[in-house]
Amino acid sequence: MYVFSSVLVIYFALQYNNSIQELSPVVWSVLFWLIILFSSVNAIANSFFREPEGRFYYYYWLISPQALILAKLFYNFIFTVFLSLLSFGIFSLMVSNPVVNYPVFLITIILGGTGYSFLFTTMSAIASRAGNNATLMAVLGFPLVIPLIIFLTKLSAAAIASPELTDETMRNIMLLVAFNIVQPVLALILFPYIWRD
């Protein structure tokens, strides 16, 4: 729902300018990833915040913290990837779909979605222990997500621009992969500390 309404907003904003046909690759990428960013922030925030207080104790006695965080990460990962694909579909319906290089772009979506989901899951875990404040999660998460967005937009712009796989694209993809590997590992290590209490 959120995705749909934000895409509509973008569509109307662009219509006003009457320049949909000339949407440069970078602008397209930026808008796309921003939409995904905001929808995933909302979705993931809910994953931790909606749980009533008592349930945390229940989890604490039942399963190890690692299992909990793995489960949350996995669930958020699936959810965000689904969300990204959905946004892509709607975005390409409303605004033009200039993607030329489909494999790279799909890889980008998946990697970007995982990046977002891991990052914001960890942040919402932290923020949920700090008073269930959604703004806090955003404040904590945005500085860390900015480099991620930079890379995602670069990659998607490259995917739009040319169909071949350049060296730089490969490098960016490797970076994203590294980013996605580092995060769950860190989260796994750190979560038990956040969890205690």
Partner: protein, 342 residues
Amino acid sequence: MCVILLLYVVLGSYMVPLSPGISKVEPLSIRPDSIYSLELSCYHTHFKNPGVGKIQFWFKSGNDYFPARELRILSDNKIEAKFGVGSLQQDSLKSTNFDIVGNDDIDGTFALREGITLIKSTQPDSASTLLAKTGVVEVVHNKHQFLAFPYREILYESIRNTFFHVPMWFVMTALVFFSLVFSVLYLNKGNMRYDIYSHQSIVVALVFGICGLATGMVWAKNTWGHYWVNDPKLNGAAVGVMIYAAYLVLRGSIDDEIKRARIAAAYNIFSIVIFALFIYIIPRLTDSLHPGNGGNPAFSKYDLDSSLRMFFYPACIGWILLGFWIFSILARMQLIKQKQEL
């Protein structure tokens, strides 16, 4: 202590003059087969000084030196030189951009790299006036008569900012690394002292980071013309400052001490690792205006002259000591406050 070092650095950075160089040449491009009268504006040269000895000027392309035909001194800083290049030589040249090299007894050797371009003529004239080409150059590389900083285009005098801007970032990196160590120690041992240490070192790191950004912005405005450029290192630096501001916000929002310490330490470790990944690796991979990036290591031999080095190493050490001093003061204050509350 660091007081002496810093005073030395700051005073020295201003007093030492810039070494001589050629700042401007008019016209910018020449064609072969004519003799041009080039007006060279130089910087910190002493052409009218009686001790100047023999003034020589050359065009230099690769290993070929073309001496000037005639020199006329206009003032201490301006000189007019007549040069010409024969069109028959134009094909044997390595590149069409010549360096202009000058030499005299007081100023040593100074140059303007790629100062003048040769527009090749399409019809070589065999009866042209060929310039005598000196294969081996009798360049006497005089030592500067005084200590001087290297003369770099674009930077000119603001090269002195290296002693302020770069050490700031060193201090911030050192303090951030310290904070990481303390956070890990805290999570392992649970001693509240480590939490205080990591908190205070982040505070000081943030202050130095803001200083680093401020010096960088002023420098950028002066040399590149804008306060902020879309450059990965700058963006990374801004992101870093934001991350630590977020850390402080996080600390402010939790009231329970132990919980605050634990969660802040976890966030600290998580963000430092990601931040380090992005701020150190990315600038080396991409192009940037920032010196030391775009494929080059941070401090290559090319960037740091020996005279700069004389000031730069003490500057780094001095600023780092200052940063640690401030950190230790703050940490001790917090410790005392904590003890008094007990």
